[in-house]
Structure formats: structure tokens, C-alpha cells
Amino acid sequence: MQIEIIDLGINNLDSLKRALSGMYEIVDIKVRDSGQEDYGKPNLIVLPGVGNFGAAANSLREKKLDKYIKEQHRKKIAILGICLGMQLLLNKSEESSISEGLGLIPGLVERLDSSNGRVPNVGWSEINFSTNKDSRIKINDEANFYFTHSYFANVDEEFVVATSSHGTGSFPAIIQNGLALGIQFHPEKSGLDGRLFLKAVIQDLLYET
């Protein structure tokens, strides 16, 4: 099992590395900070991220990581985006109108509506799987996950795997388009529930490859 974590140079990758490495008996984790190195074919690429969409999209481009990720996606490698990493899988963001995302899942990143609830949306919440999608991801009904975001993925219903609530409104918590899957919350900061979820979602993604 080989997993590559994309390093945009902003956030700490240790909690993610710990969560991933506890998952399988043998897991080889490579941290990639440019599109050039050849580490051999990965089973999965994880794109985490915090901060500003524009800054992260620029960083992807400067390090030639955007080309690399798109190329791997064409070669049927699974891509998992977390938080800002999920937003980067989409086409564009209101946060930075000139920056382009990876476009692996069609959709736009938009600001949460403060008439529904307080923004940023911070804290623990449950998620609800879409009834029209037959997801193989199984989690404890009462599992809680940590969210911290001001923007959300506005995508067509067909790409929404699960939703969560923001005050009186709701937004996609998990989105998927084939081998590209995005998670709005932080499974690596969500205790045991988060680790169990991460394992379930990765197993599901690898089942597709």
C-alpha cells in the first residue's frame, strides 16, 4: 500500500500521517512537494490543505503539482481531497476568482450563507449520507466529525455522497466523481470516529481502482 501526501507547505501533515499509517500493517507514505520526483506508482494520493484557495492553487501550479495530480487521475489513481484540498478538486472558488482548481469534480466553491448560521462553521457535526447514492462507506450513525470552514462545495446532486448542516441550511460534506473524492471536514482531527471513517473511505476508493 503506497500513499502519497501532497505537501503545500502550509499545514502540519503529522496527524494525517499518523492516521494513515495506523490503518494498514504495511503502508508506505511518501510526502510529495513537487511534481517532478518519481516515487513509483501510488495506490492513493491525498491532498490536504488549510488557508486561502488562491494561495493554495498558485502553490499547486508553481510546484507543478496540478499537472502531476491530473496526470495520475488520468492513470486511474484515486485522489482524496481534505478540507481546502477538497475545494481544490473543483473548478473555481469565490474566494479567489482568478485561480483555477483541478477540475476533477465539476463545481464551484462558494461562501457559506451567514443568514443560515455563524460563519465560519466551526465544530463537531454528524453527516447524512444521500439516500439516492448507494455508498459502500459504512460508519457509526452517531459518528462526529470536526468541521472548520467558511466556504463549501456547490456541486450537482449526483456528486454529493453526504451532507452536513450549517445552521438552518446544509452543504455537501463528502463529494465524489469516480476516483476523485473530497471531504469537507478533518477526519485526521476527528478522534477515533475520524480514523475509522478515513479507513472506510479509502477502502471504498481503492475498491473502485
Binding site: I10, N11, N12, D14, S15, R18, A19, V50, G51, N52, A55, L84, S114, G117, R118, V119, P120, N121, V122, G123, W124, S125, N144, Y146, F147, T148, H149, S150, S165, H166, G167, H186, E188, K189, S190, G191, L192, G194, R195
Partner: protein
């Protein structure tokens, strides 16, 4: 979103301290030991505030954040002594989920904007130490001249993602939160508010959550009474509140 129960750990860079009304003269233990203890209690999140970094003109103890990150599988925030965007980035890259700005936010409010432009506003908590209707700085010792409600609106506009609303004369007294001030603050801002200062029993959490606080922070309550964050969560759940147990 579930209500958050947030232990607040005050330390001087290495040693955890706690007292009353911002005079923190009682030593509790090493910050590593206390972090270990809280990590086992799986709080919703936790804040580590270095209360002497600013007064001693010292940088935050960045190395200790890596230790916290190795122990916690839930988010933690750090504050005290953060003066620049580079400081803030180093806190995040060492594993903190969010940074807390206190004195510096009152003295140099544009730093709030600079940090939130880089790290996102969700990473920036502004700690507001209040007495009557005024904001104090330097661990509650020096009046900033700013009024609480004006300052709340100012920091929201500048890009703060959360407010940590503290009350100097209630801190450590266990006599209950300043609920009137909480109500006033919630009315003038759209960002989440964590209220602290005076928690002494489980009902105090209940009152603040029912009024609309996103989080309630407690220091002395968790240091000096038998209660743990998870016990409080179960108690609140029994009362019908939406909390994580």
C-alpha cells in the same frame, strides 16, 4: 453544529498555572503532563494560552506545539506571544489548528487581516479580555481604551474567525459567566463566540449554550473540580442539548 466544551490551559511556556482574576500564581504541573491528561479525556478541542510570553517579550514555545500535536487527535489552538504572520504560520505548521491573538490584536489589529489572508479566518481566534464595557490587554493589566462591542465588530471586519470572550473579574472564581455581556456580543457579530471566565458548575455551560454561545471555555473548573469535559457533555445531553459525547 454541536456546542463545544473547551478546556483552557494557561501556562508560562513550560508550566501550567491557574489563579483568580488573571492573577495566575498557582502552579499546576508541567504543560506536557497536563496535555497528556487532557488528550486522554478527548475534549471537543483545547486552547493552550501562554500568559507570560508577551510580558516577557518572548516568542511562543513552538517546539511544545509539536508535542501537543503528537498527543491530540482533536483540534487545539495556541496563543500568547504571536506577533507576526510568520509566527502564526509556524504555529499551524507545528500542528495547531488555530491561533489565538490577545494583546497584539488590540495593539495592531491589522495583523488579524494579514494572518487570516494567509491561513483563512477559521484559523484566527481573537481573545477579548473584558472588564465592565472595556477591553484590556497585557493579561488584563492595561486598559486598551477600546469598548467591547466596538472591538468585536472591528475584529470581525478585519477577518477574525472566532471570538474568545473573557471576563477578568469572574476568571477563576467559579461563580458563573457574564451572560449579559455574552448576549450583547452575540447580537453584534456573525462569527462564533467562545465564552469563558467564571464557569463553576455544569449548569453554567447550559445557560451559555442556550443563549447561543458556540463554545464554552473553562480553566479552573476542569483544574480544580472533579468534572471532566466528557462528564459535562453527558450531563448536557441529558438536558437535551446537542453536544458530542
Amino acid at each position: 453544529m454541536k456546542h463545544r466544551i473547551i478546556p483552557i490551559v494557561l501556562y508560562d511556556g513550560t508550566t501550567v498555572v491557574k489563579g483568580k482574576m488573571f492573577r495566575n500564581d498557582r502552579t499546576i504541573g508541567s504543560v506536557e503532563a497536563i496535555a497528556n491528561l487532557y488528550a486522554k479525556r478527548r475534549p471537543d478541542e483545547i486552547l493552550f494560552l501562554d500568559i507570560s510570553a508577551t510580558s516577557e517579550g518572548r516568542s511562543p514555545n513552538f517546539e511544545i506545539f509539536e508535542y501537543f500535536a503528537s498527543k491530540f487527535d482533536v483540534p487545539f489552538g495556541v496563543g500568547g506571544g504571536i506577533r507576526t504572520v510568520a509566527d502564526a504560520k509556524r504555529c499551524i505548521s507545528n500542528g495547531a489548528e488555530k491561533i489565538v491573538l490577545g494583546t497584539i490584536a488590540a495593539e495592531n489589529p491589522t495583523l488579524i487581516t494579514e494572518i487570516s489572508n494567509e491561513l483563512g479566518s477559521q484559523a484566527v481566534v481573537v481573545s477579548i479580555d473584558t472588564h465592565d464595557n472595556f477591553v484590556f490587554k497585557c493579561s488584563g493589566k492595561v486598559p486598551s481604551g477600546k469598548r467591547v462591542l466596538d472591538f468585536v465588530q472591528e475584529v470581525e471586519k478585519l477577518g477574525a474567525g472566532e471570538i474568545l470572550l473573557q471576563d477578568i473579574t469572574r476568571d477563576g472564581t467559579l461563580r458563573g459567566l457574564n451572560l449579559n455581556r455574552l448576549i450583547e456580543v452575540l447580537k453584534v457579530t456573525k462569527i462564533p463566540v467562545i465564552v469563558s471566565g467564571g464557569i463553576g458548575k455544569q449548569e453554567h455551560f447550559l445557560e451559555a449554550f442556550r443563549l447561543g454561545a458556540s463554545g464554552v471555555g473553562a480553566g479552573a473548573f476542569f483544574q480544580f473540580t472533579q468534572f471532566t469535559p466528557n462528564q459535562v457533555a453527558w450531563h448536557l445531553k441529558d438536558q437535551g442539548l446537542n453536544v458530542r459525547t
